[in-house]
């Protein structure tokens, strides 16, 4: 893989990537030091907006026509791997999404009456800083450690906002799963570093560029692959490693944790960024198995989702179902597949965040998300209902949402790699997803309001709720009908990977028949 880098001084007047990470950190400091609580919330919104502007500037500076890594920054450090950051189109996409989602979370704080919680707002910005760090770094160890910090911060959010007694069990489950995931990830990271040191005479490195120079011996590739894959698979979450999610989704009191964990698919990002380029032989050896598990996951999760009564648990299974489709796309391994899957993961992420926010708004009014006790909300909350539906439709890949183009790309690539039957099955799994999402939408918004609940007055959406719902509709429909910039952004991100895997793939299924 060629790794040409363009230094930031060539493209920009300031180190954009460092600023992107430092601004949220500065926000943390400001929020913690700010006297009084009156200015807390305005300051937070301002900082989040500033970060979004900065991400927009990154999008402007980034040259999508070049296949080089861009805006690179390097800083040697003592006793620690060098700070090395650079972005390609994929990173830019995730950075933009992080900025948008963080802004929505800050706005959501007001809705949840958390705008005066110094700790909450500071934690949100700290999470933002770690996320941006994860998306710009070119160093595997940095990524792993930042990921540990991020999961810890989210655990703090869950713990701090816990109210009900069951939350404790959810918390425990979360910590167990994530702890194991992190351990696996760390082990894989160290094995890679050790392999590099072994081959280069004691010189340790975790830098992606250097690691790719040193081929990993075949006998340990599979071991490292499974360490990293399972480590990331737990947080993605992949069937059958998803055990923590339904419980956390049901009992985690706020949507915020879910939004950060599920809205930003860092696991998927890490697979493409680090695992795919480093362990090609292991990937090729196991990708059929991964796809088979994913296919089972689509239907397993869809079936369970159809059986849920609780909206939050239903959403949890929806996430598992759609990430399985995502994984089938990823492991189709062609340029089309990677573009489609990454686009899909951002689209799913935004949509999932939307669904979580909207169900949060509903919960605030009804104090329950058990579907037989909901209903008749569309007349009271049309904007929230519409945003819920648009988000649901993006997950199904309905035309007019970003899911459409992305699912299309994924299916196209999957046909080439896994054949028509697998792909048709995956597409039918998507129909199953449509079944439970439409059922959820009808149950919550269109069905008549149950008699027993008629005492609860449904207050109209507040201005801030309208803004959040409106932003989600706008982002989804806007990128859906005008997907070209995002596809162009990913135009050259996977040149290297496509080259690496070119000619090694099955050409099964339809194209073979066509020739």
């Amino acid at each position: 893989m060629g790794m040409n880098e363009i230094h930031w001084t060539v493209q920009s007047a300031y180190p954009v990537l460092a600023t992107l990470q430092l601004l949220p950190l500065a926000a943390v400091v400001v929020l913690l030091l700010l006297r009084g609580r009156r200015l807390l919330y305005p300051a937070a919104v301002g900082m989040a907006l500033l970060e979004l502007l900065l991400a927009g500037d990154l999008f402007r500076l980034f040259d999508a026509t070049s296949s080089s890594l861009q805006l690179a920054e390097r800083l040697p450090l003592l006793f620690f791997p060098d700070y090395h950051a650079a972005v390609d189109g994929m990173s830019v996409l995730f950075i933009l999404l992080t900025a948008i989602i963080s802004l929505l979370v800050v706005l959501y704080a007001k809705v949840k009456r958390l705008e005066n919680s110094r700790a909450f707002l500071a934690t949100v910005f700290a999470i933002q800083a770690t996320l941006q760090g994860m998306f710009v770094t070119r160093d595997l160890l940095w990524f792993t450690l930042l990921s540990a910090v991020e999961l810890g911060l989210i655990a703090y959010l869950l713990l701090r906002l816990a109210k009900a007694p069951q939350d404790e069990s959810a918390m425990r489950r979360y910590l167990q799963f994530m702890g194991i995931g992190l351990l696996l990830l760390l082990a894989g990271t160290f094995l890679l570093g050790w392999n590099y040191a072994n081959a280069s005479g004691g010189q340790w490195s975790f830098d992606l560029h250097e690691l790719t120079q040193q081929a990993v011996p075949l006998e340990i590739q599979s071991v490292i692959f499974f360490l990293l894959f399972y480590g990331l698979g737990i947080r993605i979450p992949l069937f059958p490693l998803h055990g923590w999610l339904p419980l956390v989704a049901e009992h985690g009191t706020v949507a915020v944790a879910g939004v950060f964990l599920l809205g930003l698919k860092t696991g998927v990002y890490a697979l493409v960024r680090f695992v795919f380029p480093l362990l090609p032989e292991a990937i090729l050896r196991w990708h059929i198995w991964v796809a088979a598990f994913a296919l089972a996951g689509i239907f397993y999760a869809a079936t369970l989702a159809l059986m849920q009564d609780n909206l939050r648990r239903l959403l949890a299974f929806a996430v598992i179902s759609h990430t399985s489709l995502l994984v089938i796309g990823l492991f189709s391994l062609s340029q089309t597949a990677l573009q489609g899957s990454i686009l899909l993961s951002t689209s799913f992420g935004t949509a999932t965040a939307g669904l979580l926010f909207m169900s949060g708004f509903v919960y605030r009014r009804t104090r329950t998300l058990i579907m037989p006790r909901l209903g008749g909300l569309f007349g009271h909350l049309p904007v929230i209902g519409t945003a819920f539906l648009v988000a649901g439709l993006s997950i199904i890949g309905m035309p007019g949402t970003p899911g459409f183009d992305a699912v299309h790309l994924v299916l196209e690539a999957a046909i080439q790699e896994f054949g028509a039957m697998v792909t048709i099955a995956a597409a039918l799994g998507n129909v199953a997803a449509a079944a439970f999402l439409l059922r959820a939408f009808q149950g919550a918004f269109l069905a008549p309001r149950p008699e027993s609940e008629s005492a609860i007055e449904i207050e109209p959406p507040t201005r801030r709720e309208r803004v959040i719902a409106g932003l989600i509709i706008l982002v989804l429909l806007g990128t859906g009908f005008y997907s070209q910039p995002w596809l162009a952004l990913l135009g050259h991100s996977f040149d290297g990977l496509a080259e690496l895997y070119a000619g090694t793939l099955h050409n099964g299924g339809i194209p073979a028949a066509a020739q």
């Binding site: 049309p382 035309p399 007019g400 048709i424 998507n430 439409l438 009808q442 135009g491 339809i510």
Partner: protein
């Protein structure tokens, strides 16, 4: 006539969403229906302009517009019309105008949402008739589902309307899967034959796909995938189960759109047969067989129903069967008859469902037992119903006659047994309609709701007069329509390999 310098077809498609947006900007929700009506009338003017400017002497696509949409996959915004599709545009708009007027007073809750969804549905439907890129076609195809889902679940008249909405949407999404795969297969084949990297050479443009030969084994796959995809929508027996449900539970106005616009049959004519011609001819017996089964099953089921709307749904199944039979003949007569019949349905099936909606609005039921003697209180409504019923049977003088005549003629010629069965089906169709008409519209009145009901109002009468005039005009002067579809139909037949 020269083509205009402005994108007329895009204007036809895009005016409607703009109108839908305008509905939300207007301060008064009661204005929604007026905005919807005016937008639809403006659109009607555009479509009529297209028909007037359409060049009869050319069998090619006209008013073609092309823009890049997803360049990396060679997917284009490519639209145009030929003789096969051009007449569907004004009729579709007309049917929607009828639906808007029919919903004028009956839609009380959330009028803004209702009328804007209606306009969006109309826009997507027109897009289906104009799209010449298979993926763009698929986009419009799926885009119709969202408004339909809402329209059925929020304004349906049956108690199980939400179930009906989900059933319809899921069946259509499932049908969309083979459809999309058929199109992808075609794209891949083109990429495979022209060599080079897969994604650079994908082709989804319909004219280009038509020009590319398809290997035999792939034709069979494409044929069955596309047949399956369109059969769900048409609907073809045994994939029709959504139609009676939607007809009973959905709003009558939406049922009029579902049964009036036979998009599935249009898809079969436009895509399935021309893109897999050899396979289609090989499996002509399947098409004819499905057609005959549909005709007889639909007619028999209609005979045994007790509810007017369910009867109409099943008779619509019978009509689709006849169209299928006409397609399976692969002759000029057959295809022209099929197209004529589809155009005819837009008016007849749409109109008769709107009438049954008016009836339901007045009486609160369309069960035959709760009707009886309707003609005494509502002579105009009954006369309209009778006229539309006659057109559905194909009685001479109505637009149904030339269509059914061509269809039966071509069927007798190519599939004699099937043709005879179709004749029997038409007789059964006459039997159920006349029997139902006698029980529901004639005879003594026994329901107080019928006794107190008023006849068609001016607004309702206007719809029926326009549609009725078109039925008579099509029956007495069929040549205009046949001339319009002739060249495109000829090239459709020529595209088939010689048998």
């Amino acid at each position: 006539m020269p083509e205009p310098g402005y994108p007329l077809l895009s204007l036809v498609i895009m005016t409607l969403p703009l109108g839908a947006g305008l509905i939300w900007l207007a301060p008064n929700p009661a204005r929604a229906r007026w905005i919807a009506l005016l937008t639809a009338l403006l659109d009607l003017a555009f479509t009529l302009l297209i028909v007037v400017r359409f060049d009869h002497a050319s069998g090619d696509f006209q008013f073609v517009e092309q823009h890049a949409w997803i360049p990396s996959l060679n997917i284009k915004y490519l639209i145009g019309v030929d003789g096969m599709s051009v007449l569907f545009l004004p009729l579709t708009v007309l049917l929607f105008i009828g639906v808007i007027l029919a919903s004028w007073t009956s839609v009380r809750s959330l009028p803004r949402l209702y009328f804007s969804l209606l306009l969006i549905l109309e826009s997507a439907t027109l897009g289906i008739f104009c799209a010449l890129d298979t993926i763009l076609f698929f986009l419009f195809w799926e885009l119709t589902l969202v408004p339909t889902f809402f329209l059925i679940s929020l304004w349906g008249i049956g108690p199980h309307r939400r179930y009906a909405a989900v059933k319809y949407t899921l069946m259509m999404l499932t049908g969309g899967v083979p459809l999309l795969f058929g199109f992808l297969l075609l794209g891949f084949n083109h990429a495979g034959t022209s060599g080079g990297a897969m994604t650079d050479k994908l082709v989804f443009s319909y004219p280009e796909l038509l020009a590319a030969p398809l290997p035999a084994e792939l034709q069979t796959a494409v044929f069955f995938l596309l047949l399956l995809g369109f059969a769900v929508k048409a609907p073809v027996f045994p994939l029709h189960t959504w139609l009676p449900t939607v007809a009973m539970e959905g709003p009558a106005a939406i049922a009029a759109i579902m049964t009036g616009l036979k998009l599935g049959a249009y898809g079969l004519i436009r895509f399935t047969v021309p893109l897999a011609p050899a396979a289609a001819q090989e499996f002509h017996w399947l098409l004819a067989g499905l057609g005959v089964v549909g005709i007889l099953y639909g007619a028999l089921m209609a005979l045994s129903q007790t509810n007017l709307r369910r009867m109409l749904a099943f008779s619509s199944l019978s009509h689709v069967g006849l169209v299928l039979l006409g397609i399976s003949a692969f002759t000029l007569q057959g295809i022209q008859g099929a197209l004529f019949q589809l155009l005819n349905f837009t008016i007849v099936a749409g109109g008769i469902f709107l009438l049954s909606g008016f009836l339901h609005h007045r009486v609160g039921s369309t069960d035959v037992v709760s009707l009886g003697g309707v003609a005494q209180r509502m002579p105009l409504l009954s006369a309209g119903f009778f006229l539309f019923g006659l057109a559905g049977m194909g009685v001479p003088g109505t637009s149904g006659f030339p269509a059914e005549f061509l269809l039966i003629l071509s069927a007798l010629d190519t599939h004699t047994g099937a043709g005879l069965a179709a004749l029997a089906g038409i007789i059964l169709g006459a039997a159920w309609f006349l029997g139902m008409f006698r029980r529901a519209f004639l005879g003594p009145m026994h329901n107080t709701a019928v006794i107190e009901a008023v006849d068609l109002r001016r607004r309702e009468l206007a719809i029926m007069l326009v549609l009725g005039t078109l039925i008579l005009a099509g029956g007495l002067f069929p040549n205009g329509v046949l001339e319009m579809t002739r060249l495109a139909s000829e090239s459709w037949v020529e595209n088939l390999p010689p048998r």
